[in-house]
């Protein structure tokens, strides 16, 4: 099939038939994941590398189990890492069929052992894009267009790894790339603040969260703070994702941990390196027992992300909080 999520016409139809009213969308993460994510879905992952990744939602997905997902993201770190590691640890319970991406690693915290493991064993279909290419694909989806032009992929091999088409521009005569829209089945987005209707405020870079949410048929939002509609709309231009694009709103403080969330916490490098360290040896033929034990203790052994956080050294979370305060000083 050419379209890996919804086709442009299907995406339009999904939105037309959706209840777009302003209603209370608060629910538990367990409810949100079970109601809005299905086996076989194309899942759009928000954030950028380890910033505002939807980690709490990934934990809940693993707890519930999923099959044959397509993951779509520009640059991601711990989001696909934990979902992919679950496939290494429990292939019967969790599986990813396909990855559409620009980058999967952790910048200062190193490469992704899960990515190497899955790719080098051909366990997932791969489709490479650049950050701008796939961001523009989400944007085309959000704009209701079947494609968007871009110069990004011209000249290299990325365009031959994916569904890009090159044509001669009918206005200039020069080659231009056309990137097919991405309309995921479901978007997973973590934000700083939301109201119960789903209006979201994102601090720091928007990454491509607005585009992914608007492009997707369904959107699950987790937020650091659930606040009143009046507070959110006192500065309407701060709203990055409007309520009609959102289906579930869940308040999950530290929901992007051990990644960072502007104004709330910086990266927890120790926690990231610790997790990556559980996977790296498996590539070299080591036992997956330590990884399985981690999932048993922190995901399968608890009922919620809050319970996972409660098992961590408190200092680790306070350190992440203190380090972020250096980058943005604010009165409480």
């Amino acid at each position: 099939m050419f379209w890996t999520g919804l086709s442009p016409d299907e995406a339009r139809e999904a939105l037309v038939n959706k209840d777009k009213s302003m209603r209370d969308k608060r629910m538990t993460l367990k409810e949100a994941v079970s109601q809005f994510i299905k086996d076989g879905d194309n899942v759009g992952i928000g954030g950028f590398v380890n910033v505002r990744q939807p980690i709490a939602t990934a934990h809940e997905m693993i707890r519930q189990g999923f099959k044959d997902l397509t993951l779509s993201f520009q640059s991601a770190g711990m989001g696909p890492e934990i979902l992919g590691a679950a496939m290494i640890a429990r292939p019967d319970h969790c599986s990813i069929k396909r990855i559409e991406l620009a980058y999967w690693a952790h910048e200062a915290f190193g490469l992704s052992p899960t990515w190497r493991y899955l790719a080098e064993r051909s366990m997932v279909e791969i489709e490479d894009w650049s950050n701008y290419n796939i961001s523009a694909r989400f944007k085309a989806g959000a704009m209701g267009l079947p494609f968007i032009p871009s110069r990004g992929p011209l000249g290299g091999d990325i365009k031959d790894s994916n569904r890009t088409k090159i044509m001669d521009c009918p206005f200039t005569g020069r080659p231009i790339a056309l990137l097919p829209a991405s309309n995921p089945n479901v978007a997973l987005i973590h934000v700083q603040a939301a109201d119960m209707y789903g209006n979201c405020i994102i601090r720091g870079s928007d990454a491509t969260c607005s585009e992914i949410a608007m492009a997707s048929a369904r959107t699950i939002v987790t937020c650091e703070q659930l606040v009143s509609h009046e507070l959110i709309t006192s500065a309407p231009k701060d709203v990055g994702i409007p309520f009609p694009a959102v289906d579930a709103v869940v308040e999950v403080p530290y929901g992007a941990f051990p990644g960072a969330c502007r104004r709330h916490y910086y990266f927890s490098g120790d926690e990231i390196r610790n997790f990556l360290g559980l996977i790296a040896p498996i590539s070299k033929g080591g036992s997956p027992d330590a990884l399985k034990a981690w999932f048993d203790e922190y995901v399968f052994g608890v009922a919620s992300f809050e319970e996972y956080l409660a098992k961590l050294p408190f200092k680790r979370i306070m350190d992440a909080r203190a380090e972020e305060a250096c980058a943005i000083e604010r009165l409480a």
């Binding site: 080098e120 290419n133 720091g204």
Partner: protein, 264 residues
């Protein structure tokens, strides 16, 4: 300006990278050593340098220290513009980025970079021998910044006659107007900084050319460590070693935890 006698390969890369950056220009900064080099430039000869990061920050003063990510909170504080990835790359496609500063795992003589896979492309694309992280924003910077500066650790296998995969396009096959004919913008690779020297691209052939050898290297030693035939500039010179002050800035002020610049 006392010359340092105690510096690492990554440190001289940072110093050389910083010196390539011109004051008051806009530089689109990739993750890792380009961030350190840009901060060093701002702290030394280029206080008016305007960094752009792909997560969206334009022109942040970077007063909170070295970001660990190009989407880091430290890049946001005090920025002159901050939207998302699309906005940053659209600025670049429009022509706002004078320089792009990127790395890769492999490079060829035309400055094309690979950061996607080692193996066989296209036949072995779904079965890579080594899977690398992927382009990130590097391919976009390579396609649309006006000029690019490349950082690649010097190694015979990494300076390769033929790349498995071209992630970030440089001068393509070196033919006249190759970039323009492919629909791209910008003049392409401008400098390459390696662990052994600094390189430009000869104007007609667009082939990589030695312009500076790092202390301890010679034209011959660099040629021997390169998997393709390197050109040599008529006026090739030795690159001055980093100063004690530059090394102090890197170690004590810019990257005190060794997040990107390894001490070993």
């Amino acid at each position: 300006m006392t010359a340092s006698t105690d510096y690492t390969a990554q440190e001289i890369i940072v110093v050389a990278g910083s010196k390539v950056l011109e004051d008051n220009k806009i530089v689109f900064v990739g993750t890792g050593l380009p961030m350190v080099a840009s901060l060093l430039a701002i702290r030394t000869h280029a206080p008016g340098l305007i960094p752009v990061f792909e997560a969206g920050a334009v022109g942040p003063p970077l007063k909170c220290g070295l970001p660990l990510s190009v989407g880091d909170s430290k890049t946001f504080t005090g920025a002159s513009y901050l939207q998302g990835l699309n906005a940053a790359f659209e600025l670049t496609q429009r022509g706002f980025a004078d320089y792009g500063f990127i790395g890769g795992a492999e490079v060829d003589m035309y400055g094309n970079l690979n950061s996607t896979m080692i193996g066989d492309f296209p036949d072995g694309y779904q079965n890579p021998k080594v899977r690398l992280p992927g382009s990130g924003g590097a391919a976009d910077m390579a396609a649309s910044c006006e000029r690019t500066i490349l950082i690649v650790p010097h190694d015979k296998k990494k300076f390769s006659e033929k790349l498995t995969y071209v992630t970030s396009p440089g001068h393509l096959d070196g033919s006249p107007n190759a970039r323009f004919n492919a629909g791209m913008q910008g003049k392409g690779p401008y400098r390459v900084i390696t662990t052994k020297g600094v390189f430009d691209f000869e104007e007609q052939s667009k082939r990589m050319r030695i312009i500076h050898t790092f202390p301890g290297e010679t034209v011959d030693s660099i040629k021997a460590a390169t998997g393709f035939e390197l050109l040599v500039a008529p006026d090739v010179s030795e690159f001055a070693p980093p100063t004690v002050e530059e090394i102090r800035l890197i170690r004590e002020e810019i990257d005190p935890t060794g997040a990107f610049v390894k001490r070993a």
